[in-house]
């Protein structure tokens, strides 16, 4: 069964906390990874690899550039 947006966001929030120390309370669809959550490009690489593993999806490198906000990432993962 496919995960809901809330479930994906929660999973993503766990990853962000683990690899980049992001406070889960700050994670919301409208938040920008770089501007709001202080996730720099190297940390983003770790987030992507962890998300691929957790959600069983492939996130190609040229797609990562389009994932600017938490909402972008949730939508991409939701599509599978």
């Amino acid at each position: 069964m496919a995960l809901s947006r809330d479930e994906i966001r929660e999973g993503l929030s766990d990853i962000l906390e683990e690899v980049a120390g992001v406070n889960p309370d700050d994670v919301a669809d409208g938040k920008s990874f770089t501007d709001d959550l202080d996730v720099d490009s190297l940390a983003m690489v770790e987030v992507v690899v962890a998300a691929e593993e957790k959600f069983g999806v492939k996130i190609p490198d040229d797609e990562v550039a389009n994932l600017k906000t938490v909402g972008d990432a949730v939508s991409y993962i939701e599509k599978g």
Partner: protein, 405 residues
């Protein structure tokens, strides 16, 4: 000539998580060497080492730890202590702030761990922080970033002479007018299967596995090699006028330093300690003092059969037969790239406190040892000047001469 003084000290060692606890253990003659209980150590010829007394995870935030090699973590811990000890603050002119911080081997544990990930899980799983974690200039870069140093961040690598060389470069940087304040030191954290197996294959390490606390025994007849330790030492070096203007406390003066190379062998020490002796002579010459005024040498003495006695010859020739020696590696183990800085701190505190820490385990002195050693018990003595020596594989020699503030 520009005078360079020491205004801050920091350390994390097998004896303590800071300078005060390390110094207390040194003076008390406590060993930091233990048996290794890790799975990876089970089949090694040497299964003893001096691991840190305080894990960096007790000091640094979790996410910070993830992105730093262990050597970088402890560099940061020691440097922050030294910075705070010196009473430095963020309003310092960063264009006049430098860093010289080295590591003998660098991020070897990161390299090995990430290679395991590459083999087992593929390239995509390799950490994006791998390169900044394993590069040998990592500790210097991390310390430089922490304090915003802009006068230059340098990373000498000369094996076990590394952090003594760093202090020498730092003093030169100030004398050359390139900086007012320099964070100097070194860090090493390579207690792991491959580095230990490599040193063991050279027959450089003690195999006194059933008696770890007595394994590091410089100048003792029954010494059989060094014991690996991990740790970091950091010193704040400062132009005297700059330190005085801000009312800083001054531990000691970096009166002279000498750097030479053996041109002899990649790993064997010159049995006459000619290169090491020339480093000592250069430090004494720069300081412009009479060798008779040097009351103490914190020697390199690693507990290896050849090196220990060669150094004694050099000290006798260049400093004289009046000095009191000690080898604090008998307690800390050999901190490799961190050794020179931690032992310089010990030499500086020996001057400041009037106490020379003991050389423990000196039960049966080598018959060729004909200099006075603070054997097994700390020695109270008034000191005006003390020398620290550090020699590294590759034939690198460093000598640092500290005088009373």
């Amino acid at each position: 000539m520009t005078e360079v003084v020491v205004t801050g000290l920091g350390a994390t060692t097998p004896l303590g998580g800071d300078v005060a606890s390390t110094w207390e253990a040194l003076v008390a003659g406590r060993s930091g060497v233990h048996q290794l209980t890790h799975e990876w150590a089970r089949e090694l010829p040497c299964r003893i080492a001096a691991e840190l007394a305080v894990e960096p995870s007790e000091v640094l935030p979790r996410v910070r730890l993830r992105r730093l090699d262990r050597s970088e973590q402890i560099a940061l811990v020691a440097a922050q202590q030294a910075w705070d000890d010196a009473g430095l603050s963020d309003d310092l002119d960063k264009e006049r702030l430098g860093v010289v911080f080295g590591s003998g081997i660098g991020g070897a544990l990161t390299l090995l761990a990430q290679d395991d990930i590459l083999e087992e899980s593929g390239a995509r799983k390799v950490s994006p922080f791998t390169v900044p974690m394993l590069m040998p200039n990592g500790p210097a870069a991390v310390v430089g970033l922490e304090f915003g140093a802009q006068a230059g961040v340098h990373a000498p690598t000369s094996a076990c002479a590394t952090s003594a060389e760093a202090i020498s470069w730092a003093a030169d940087m100030i004398r050359a007018g390139r900086a007012d304040v320099v964070v100097a030191g070194g860090a090493e954290a390579v207690i792991g299967g491959l580095p230990m197996a490599g040193f063991s294959s050279m027959k450089a390490m003690s195999t006194r596995n059933d008696d770890p606390e007595h394994a590091s025994r410089p100048w003792d007849r029954d010494r059989d090699g060094f014991v690996m330790g991990e740790g970091s030492g950091a010193l704040i070096l400062e132009r005297r006028e700059h330190a005085e203007a801000r009312g800083a406390k001054i531990y000691a003066v970096v009166a002279g330093s000498g750097l030479t190379s053996d041109g002899y062998d990649i790993v064997q020490p010159d049995p006459e300690c000619r290169g090491g002796g020339r480093a000592m002579a250069a430090a004494i010459r720069q300081a412009g003092i009479d060798p008779k005024d040097i009351g103490h040498v914190n020697a390199h003495a690693t507990s290896t059969p050849v090196g220990d006695m060669a150094e004694v010859k050099g000290i006798k020739r260049e400093v004289g037969d009046h000095v009191v020696l000690t080898a604090t590696k008998s307690m800390t183990g050999h901190l490799l790239g961190g050794a020179g800085a931690v032992e310089s701190i010990a030499a500086i505190l020996a001057i400041a406190e009037g106490v020379i820490p003991p050389t423990i385990n000196l039960e049966n002195p080598d018959p060729a040892l004909d200099l006075d050693v603070a054997a097994n018990e700390a020695r109270k003595v008034e000191l005006n000047a003390a020398l620290n020596t550090a020699f590294g594989f590759g034939g690198h020699n460093a000598a640092l001469l500290f005088t009373k503030a």
